[in-house]
């Protein structure tokens, strides 16, 4: 178990910058998830930590020790690859016991057998030990890859999208297993994914990566409730957070948000640190939106529009409403909505997000507001 620290980690491939000066600190035993779309630089980060790639600048510290120039086999790091990377000509048992035959992690044959069997039990694959990788299903291969990583001691566990090639149902099962495994092992884990649901479910903390830049690091609550910019805001949530461009203007009782087409006006609480006329974007998550009926309630904001399309998502509906020139998505249980209906969308004022129109960064609505998460 050890801490992990990335200082100014930067990686360039020729003229392409894969990672821009990243700083990150993981505590001992922390389960960290790096979230980002493909090409964001997640795998590059993992490879730099593992020592499979040399950073162009910056450094990696494991357990307080500078790892610059240290070969992978000296770093005491374990990694599960996205494509499993199982040795094709070896049986599952041989795959999992392979690390235990290296000089570094060598144990007696008896001890190796015990460990492999124990890990196989934990992962529910003891019956597969004599099979070859080509005879295994995706889920089984993924467990073997995990097993290989767990049989030997490691300071840091690196997991590169291990669940991305599994079907949805299996993904959910494995997610739960991974989390419980993580708790059991207590090894500092660095998990990489493009699926925000995995990130929210697994991570002690989440880092959002985009084009090599870390946009925000925080607990799942913080990332969800207080996204640092529009990218982070849209990265989590399906459908994405609704973003309405507009400006902050003066209005009754303080600042008011007015959308570009003038259709939407929302009073902004408190004293937002934004000057008159600044371009801003208003964000509101579909989950926080509802179809209103009856009287407007206090501390809520309403918008009127007509239903564009309704999609059934199991028990809920995704209703897209046209408000002015905007399409707003809402998740609701109200089964009565039909395309063309005139409806009122309603959301609690506290769930409102505000972002600077140019920098896309989050704007606090109340001065001196405490960090809730």
């Amino acid at each position: 178990m050890a801490t992990l620290k990335l200082e100014g980690l930067r990686k360039e491939y020729g003229r392409t910058v894969a990672l821009e000066g990243t700083d990150l600190s993981l505590g001992d035993g922390e389960f960290f998830v790096l979230l980002g779309p493909s090409g964001a630089g997640k795998t590059t980060t993992l490879k730099c930590i593992a020592g499979l790639e040399e950073p162009t600048a910056g450094r990696v510290e494991i357990g307080g020790r500078d790892m610059t120039g240290v070969e992978p086999y000296h770093r005491n790091v374990a990694m599960a690859f996205e494509n499993y990377a199982l040795y094709p000509q070896k049986s599952v048992f041989d795959n999992m016991s392979f690390p235990l035959k290296s000089k570094r992690y060598a144990v007696s044959g008896e001890e190796a057998r015990k460990r492999v069997e124990r890990v196989a039990e934990t992962l529910n694959i003891p019956h597969l030990l004599q099979r070859l990788p080509r005879e295994l299903s995706g889920g089984q291969k993924q467990r073997v890859a995990l097993g290989r990583v767990l049989v030997r001691p490691a300071d840091i566990l690196l997991l590169d999208e291990p669940l991305s090639h599994l079907d949805a149902k299996l993904q959910m099962e494995m997610r739960a297993e991974l989390r419980s495994l993580g708790d059991m092992q207590g090894t500092t884990s660095f998990y990489v994914s493009h699926d925000y649901r995995e990130a929210l479910a697994l991570g002690d903390r989440i880092g959002v990566l985009h084009k090599g830049k870390l946009h925000q690091v925080g607990t799942p609550e913080k990332i969800w409730h207080r996204p640092a910019d529009t990218f982070v805001a849209r990265a989590l949530g399906q459908p994405e957070m609704n973003l309405i461009p507009g400006a902050a203007v003066s209005g009754a009782g303080g600042r008011v948000f007015r959308s570009r087409d003038g259709e939407i006006e929302v009073p902004l609480q408190g004293n937002p640190e934004v000057s008159e006329g600044t371009e801003v974007e208003l964000g509101i998550r579909p989950l926080d939106l509802d179809l209103a009926d009856g009287e407007p309630r206090p501390d809520t904001v309403e918008m009127s529009g007509s239903v564009y399309v309704v999609e059934r998502l199991g028990r809920e509906l995704e209703v897209t409403v046209t408000v002015g020139e905007h399409r707003i998505a809402a998740i609701t249980n109200d089964a009565g909505a039909r395309p063309g209906d005139r409806v009122r969308l309603r959301f609690p004022a506290s769930k409102l997000h505000l972002f600077d129109g140019e920098s896309c960064r989050r704007l606090e609505q109340e001065a001196g507001v405490m960090d809730r998460g």
Partner: protein, 307 residues
Amino acid sequence: MSATTADDRAPKKVSSGRRALRPYLLTLPALLLTIGILYPFGLGVFYTFFDYSASNPQPGFIGLENYTNMFASSDFWSSALVTFEYAIGTTVIETMLGVAVALLLYRGSLVSGVLEKVLILPLMIAPVIATIMWNLMLQPSIGVVNYLLSPFGLGGIEWTDSPGLALFSMIMIDVWVFTPFVAILALAGMRSLPRDPFEAASVDGAGYWYTFRRLMLPMLWPYILVAVIFRFMDSLKMFDIIYALTQGGPGDSTMVLQVRAYQDAILFTSFSQGLAYMVVLWAIVFGITRILVGVLGRAQARAAGAS
């Protein structure tokens, strides 16, 4: 599974400089070998600017005289002509025949299963040996070929002794040896093609030849092109077959460039002169290879986009 911390002693470090050195160390022996081969090559080019021969072991510098003499001599041009005739003849015939054979095997028949296994046989026989075989068969009076042709009234053909036919015979031997090369590549290409376009064409009612011309051939192009490049380049420098059959005769009618160089440099020991022939041949081959490889690259890219 208790995880232990990293080594208590500080982990060994490898400087990035040393790491960058690795590929160079791995390729060092190859580099040395390459230099070892380039040396005689460079020496050869060097010699062409002198009048080096066995009778003149202390050669003097004569600049481009070897080349000017060579380009002025009809010997060179007739050699060049024969070389190109040979190369074009063999490549064209082998390509067409090879693709045809591949089609036959691909289409499949009662005999194709068994016969495909021996497709490679002629290719594995050294061209010299093949020439010996055919030489035996083509002997005018006692060779079996004329014997088999005599019922058709074609017996008594002087396969190797008449200038026109000698070249034809050599081309035929080359075709015999190397057609399997084209066929194997084309067959592999055919088998690697995706099914869907063909099924769609079949549903649309496309005929056999139309499908072949418009659909299969364009997709096979990279494979065929590889075969063509290899065959053409190799035919330009063919030595074995010519030497073993007629040594360039009758007269000079089959004196391809490399055989001429052999004659000049080894038999007549005019090293510089023979080398001049080789430099020109090498330049031709080099130039054409560059062009064809470029064409191949584009063809492969196009085929990759189509699939």
